[in-house]
Amino acid sequence: MSAFVAIVKRDLTLALRRKNEVITSVFFFVVVAALFPLGIGPEMNTLRLVAPGILWVGALLASMLSLGRMFASDYADGSLEQMALSPNSLSLLVAAKILAHWLLSGLPLVLLAPILGLQFDLSTDALWILTLSLLLGTPVLSLIGAVGAALTLGVRGGDVLLSLLVLPLYVPALVFGAGAVQAEISGLGASAHLSVLAALVLVAAVFSPWASAASLRIALES
């Protein structure tokens, strides 16, 4: 357990000393949320309709941008090798890294979303569901993204390849996340969507560290 906590603390400390990881995600999210109205038009009725999708896609892309960095630095300086040689299970250490990644790249988006949602004139209930859906959905994105990041470690064209690999797998989270907000807006209630999201988080939390660890070992073999 202390290894898990140590890795989370370490990754948080490193990111906060550099700061650009948090800022990049947040900045991208804000920019996307601002660009879409400029592209679509200022009609509030239209914007209110498309807001859940735009905000969710923005958060998804922002989260995806930072995936490449999850293992890259540790791979480059040899820390990843040491983790693979640790008597602690690599899945545990990877889970710690995924948690740290979410705290740095996912959680800020969750906190920012209600503010951006105001720009689209979403009701308080809708904003609440938006936040909740992102709170459940962004961990899924970090978890699934970790497998992609591990598979493409050190590979040419890594970032673009990572996006291609990971986007199809992101679809369920996107559908149920944005769908939750839309269901709330249309009065149908978001509980079913949120339940599915919760189930996705649980399943991903169980499988992703293990699959990512296996992928990392494959990357370290060469």
Partner: protein, 258 residues
């Protein structure tokens, strides 16, 4: 039986087996396609609602089925490869991927070609077509990943994990897209709603389905032979193959002339 399987797990032994088998599958594919197309184009009646244009389903549906079957086959080989650490599994996955991608691509195109005369749009965001699009991206991702990794063993293993993760996700993706589609009340493509399938239409689709399956197997076996030759090019048994020797003679003769 098990021993036989392990015997053929070696590329050296699988190579001649694949060489004997692929023509068989190719003949079956040809025969079945001719039969299926004849049934579909000439015997099946004109559809009450959709006229003659509907006949493209005799390609669209089988090719869609194949795109899913091939992905499952890839996942199966991936599981085998990761469990038993055999080289041939990775080669089979690599041989199957392009055919699967082409089937997915054809499925999307035939879907569009069907859609335009039927509903007036080239594309419709219905659950099945959208899932097919995502499956196409999964194939592209797999091909991109295995091509980008230089070390063939690492490429095989990484591709294997990706295929497995993808296969486990495909039902989730399909379910979520179906949910998304029903909520948004998009135009729905339904083959069975409205008109009950005439017996002969179903028969033609099934025969075309099997025809495409035979075709996919034939192509995979043919392709895996090339992959085996490339991967095992430094072994003695490859150098001893008559076709390789003939090629080497041609090259050295050409060099001597020049």
């Amino acid at each position: 039986m098990i021993q036989k399987l392990f015997f053929y797990a070696s590329p050296q032994n699988f190579y001649p087996l694949a060489g004997r088998l692929w023509p068989v599958f190719a003949c079956l594919a040809t025969a079945l396609s001719v039969w299926g197309l004849w049934l579909g184009m000439f015997v099946a009646p004109t559809d009450f609602q959709q006229g003659e244009g509907y006949r493209i389903i005799f390609v669209h549906v089988p090719v869609s089925w194949m795109s899913m079957v091939i992905y499952l086959a890839m996942a199966f080989w991936a599981l085998l490869g990761l469990t038993f650490n055999t080289r041939l599994s990775g080669m089979m996955t690599k041989a199957l991927a392009p055919t699967g991608a082409i089937c997915a691509f054809l499925s999307l195109w035939t879907g569009a070609l069907w859609g335009k005369p039927m509903w007036g749009t080239w594309w419709v965001w219905d659950a099945r077509l959208t899932s097919e699009l995502i499956l196409f991206f999964l194939y592209l991702g797999h091909i991109a990943l295995t091509s980008a990794i230089d070390d063939p063993r690492r490429a095989d293993k990484a591709g294997g994990i990706l295929a497995l993760v993808g296969a486990l996700n495909v039902p989730v993706i399909y379910f979520s897209v179906k949910w998304w589609n029903t909520l948004h009340q998009g135009a729905s493509v339904s083959l069975t709603k409205g008109s009950s399938m005439a017996q002969v239409m179903l028969e033609a689709m099934l025969i075309m389905g099997i025809a495409f399956w035979m075709y996919a197997v034939a192509l995979a076996l043919y392709r895996v032979r090339s992959i085996i030759l490339i991967r095992e090019r430094h072994t003695q048994w490859v150098a001893d193959l008559p076709e390789v020797k003939a090629q080497m003679m041609k090259i050295s003769a050409g060099g001597a002339k020049a």
